[in-house]
């Protein structure tokens, strides 16, 4: 749907606002994850999966996806309004991030009718959780060197190898998998294929990985002669690198089509103001310290930079010189900001910064320290900050490739 009236949009936005006001759950009595990469317990997972289903069934998720595949068939402005309402009422995150934000848009853009009919609705209602199988233990940033084998045998691929940093791997029904289908390709990229892979088959095992926070959220996934259908192939055999790069563009926000809502709470410099207004260091209010005030202003300026970059990106006349620059640097900027602002929040607590989640003396139940440690998931995952510098340098500034 491309044409709509302002009245229709206003009515929808009002409905969304009322719905989130009424239905956003209050404190469940246990700590909720701030991002989809931090879902560490069944209790958290079940809670968030229920929440996503409710949001979808109310019509506020996938509003702009095609109606025939379970979406709302509306203009994207409607979904934007719904997401805004969700944020306004501080709704919990939607857990099926890889489905909603990466796989779904990819299927909508290059999937077959059968793919869309089979997968899209389950992504939206959280029936089918998705995970991503790109990184391998020996190939993280060097994704193109992925070695997991997919050997064709009739109408199946036989998978052998392992993937790592599989977010929600133990809950996932499907994986988007980057596998090597040709061992003799002329270069490392040409041997790769992109396969939609069922997880609940013989020969696929997940093993939880304990994070630096002491919690869980990732798995390593082992494939031992696992047989999966070839109809999960996206694009042609040997085009896996291209499809994977397109997927990363959705992940980094450089391409649209996401289902809506959010799967990570945005770093909020204003929350840190609440903390510093009550925090004490060395027996004194931190806001009396001119050094702290100076640093806080830096964070507020940076928070504004992120917000204004997003807004300027939608004004074509103000991005003429490098139209892709703002989307391509977005991940780099906000993930580093999140890490730094949380690190700063830890240091604001003075002697209390010694405490961790679980101690009665921990400031705000220790969330700042945990958020700081968890922030590395975003500065490392999806292409490290260092890789992001290469991307901006090469694709925006036109600098030569690094070796």
């Amino acid at each position: 749907m491309s044409e709509y009236s302002q009245a229709e949009l206003d009515e929808y936005a009002n409905d969304a606002d009322a719905w989130f006001k009424e239905n956003t759950p209050s404190d469940p009595g246990f700590m909720l994850p701030l991002t989809f990469m931090e879902v560490g317990t069944d209790q958290q997972f079940d809670f968030l999966r229920d929440w996503q289903r409710k949001v979808y069934e109310a019509g506020f998720l996938g509003a702009a996806w095609p109606k025939e595949y379970g979406g709302g068939g509306l203009h994207d402005d409607f979904q934007t309004a719904a997401t805004k309402a969700m944020r306004k009422h501080n709704g919990p995150i939607l857990p099926n991030a890889i489905g909603l934000n990466w796989t779904g848009p990819l299927l909508n853009d290059i999937g077959t009718h059968d793919h869309k009919a089979k997968y899209l609705k389950g992504i939206l209602n959280a029936e089918d959780i998705w995970c991503q199988g790109f990184s391998e233990p020996e190939n993280g940033s060097d994704l193109g060197n992925a070695q997991l084998r997919a050997d064709r045998d009739g109408d199946a691929y036989v998978l052998n190898g392992s993937k790592i940093w599989t977010t929600l791997g133990n809950y996932a029904k499907y994986m988007i998998l980057l596998a090597r289908t040709d061992q003799n390709a002329p270069n490392k990229y040409a041997g790769l294929s992109f396969i939609l892979t069922p997880m609940k088959v013989d020969g696929v095992e997940t093993q939880k990985i304990r994070k630096l926070t002491g919690e869980y959220g990732f798995t390593q996934t082992f494939f031992t002669d696992a047989r999966v259908p070839t109809d999960g192939l996206m694009g042609e055999e040997g085009q896996g690198w291209k499809v994977a790069m397109q997927t990363l563009e959705y992940e980094r926000g450089a391409r649209g089509g996401q289902a809506g809502g959010y799967s990570m709470t945005e770093p909020d410099a204003f929350e840190i103001l609440k903390l510093v207004r009550k925090a004490q260091r060395d027996g004194n209010p931190v806001l009396d310290d001119p050094v702290v005030r100076d640093q806080l202003v830096d964070f507020l300026i940076e928070a504004q930079s992120i917000d204004l970059n997003n807004k300027r990106g939608r004004i074509p006349d103000l991005v003429q010189d490098h139209p892709m620059a703002l989307p391509l640097m977005s991940k780099l900027v906000w993930t580093e900001f999140a890490r730094e602002v949380n690190q700063f929040a830890v240091s604001m607590q003075g002697s209390k910064s010694a405490y961790y989640v679980g101690d009665p003396n921990a400031t705000d139940d220790g969330i700042w320290t945990r958020a700081y440690l968890n922030a590395f998931s975003a500065t490392i995952g999806g292409g490290t900050t260092q890789i992001q510098h290469n991307i901006v340098g090469e694709h925006v500034l036109g600098l030569p490739k690094s070796h």
């Binding site: 806080l296 202003v297 300027r312 901006v392 036109g398 070796h403």
Partner: protein, 377 residues
């Protein structure tokens, strides 16, 4: 919290801004190539009089002047793209000085003063503002230069520093203390005795700046701007200066980054283009990311400039970000040019010097951040 949210501005871009950006982009590129910038470094005037006349004819000085005084009737938001493009080409003219003088007149000039002096600027005459003194106080009301009433005249005493474009200006607007309160006075070039202007040796060789000795200078009382409006006019001037300097710095940042990138894409060491080394590439990307943030802040400040509260926050943030952007980009550009970067011939130094000079005029990053802390925390 409430307070903070309501203090943060959005961003927008008008058709007029777009049109001016288009025109300024090509005009500045054509009129201020680097050879021209270099040639003007040793020129006493520091700018090309015939090009200055063209700028007047283009109507750029009239952009933010009301129509009744010969202006276009737009605001400083529309001046920003012009100042940005001038900064991009290190295009030295009395444009910013004259625009600031006009802003003071718009805010605090009497009807008669506006009729006479705004019309002159709108028609292409250069003017400037004389604000800074030996104390270096950026709070513009804290002046020591004084005016005393002598019959129907005002007698001035003291010295103003860092008066940009004072020699080119047909008139200057000077901040003084009169009857114990800040006031603003218009001086015509002919009011100044011989030797009143001393050209200062400044770090930015593309610009021209003067110490102005006012001892013995006397002007008719009708050159006094509306005293009741002076405080607001000075506050407006502080922000206007910061906005236009931010625009100039933001443009300069982009320019020096491109200059660096061009070198990284041609210079080889150890058999490879030096841009392929991450130790060089990554800081260059950091400089570029700073620039993009700076441009977002700049056009947010332009968009919200007239809004009470938000305008000041946005402008000071833009000033901080732009100073950082050009300073870091130019500093790294010198370094990444290696031995050539250490020479006078490498253009990186021009931008680094520009950033240092600009920070001196209306408050540097440290100053802006102290103001922001007062506004936001």
């Amino acid at each position: 919290m409430e307070n903070l949210n309501s203090n943060l501005a959005g961003i927008g871009f008008s058709d007029e801004q777009r049109d001016l950006l288009d025109v300024a982009t090509s005009f500045c590129r054509e009129k201020s190539p680097m050879e021209k910038v270099r040639a003007l470094l040793d020129d006493e005037a520091g700018h090309d009089a015939s090009i200055w006349q063209e700028i007047g004819e283009l109507g750029w000085l009239a952009i933010a002047i009301p129509e009744e005084f010969g202006g276009v009737g737009l605001g400083l938001a529309e001046v920003v793209p012009v100042a940005e493009q001038m900064g991009l080409h290190l295009f030295a003219t009395p444009f910013i000085s004259s625009t600031l003088a006009a802003q003071v007149l718009v805010k605090a000039g009497t009807d008669e003063q506006k009729q006479i002096f705004l019309t002159k600027i709108a028609g292409g005459e250069a003017a400037t503002v004389a604000l800074i003194e030996d104390s270096g106080n950026w709070d513009l009301g804290a002046t020591k230069v004084s005016a005393a009433r002598e019959g129907d005249r005002l007698a001035l005493t003291g010295t103003k520093l860092l008066v940009c474009d004072a020699a080119a200006a047909k008139f200057l607007i000077v901040s003084v203390i009169l009857d114990g309160a800040p006031a603003l006075v218009i001086l015509e070039q002919s009011d100044l005795p011989e030797g009143a202007l001393r050209r200062e040796t400044i770090v930015d060789e593309t610009k021209r700046s003067y110490a102005v000795t006012l001892d013995g200078v006397s002007v008719p009382i009708d050159r006094l701007l509306d005293v009741d409006k002076t405080k607001d006019a000075l506050a407006h001037l502080q922000l206007s200066g910061n906005l236009l300097i931010a625009a100039e710095n933001c443009g300069g940042a982009m320019s020096v980054i491109q200059y660096t990138v061009d070198y990284l894409n041609t210079r080889k060491q150890f058999g490879k283009l030096i841009g392929s080394y991450q130790a060089v590439k990554h800081p260059t990307v950091s400089a570029y990311v700073n620039y993009e943030k700076s441009r977002s802040h700049l056009y947010s400040a332009a968009y919200s400039f007239a809004e009470q509260g938000r305008g000041e926050v946005a402008t000071r943030m833009a000033a901080v970000q732009a100073e950082r952007a050009i300073s870091f980009a130019a500093d790294r550009s010198i370094q990444f040019h290696g031995g050539f970067g250490f020479t006078y011939d490498c253009d990186a130094q021009l931008f680094r010097r520009r950033a240092i000079f600009n920070a001196a005029l209306f408050g540097d990053e440290i100053y802006q951040k102290r103001k922001l802390a007062e506004l936001l925390l």
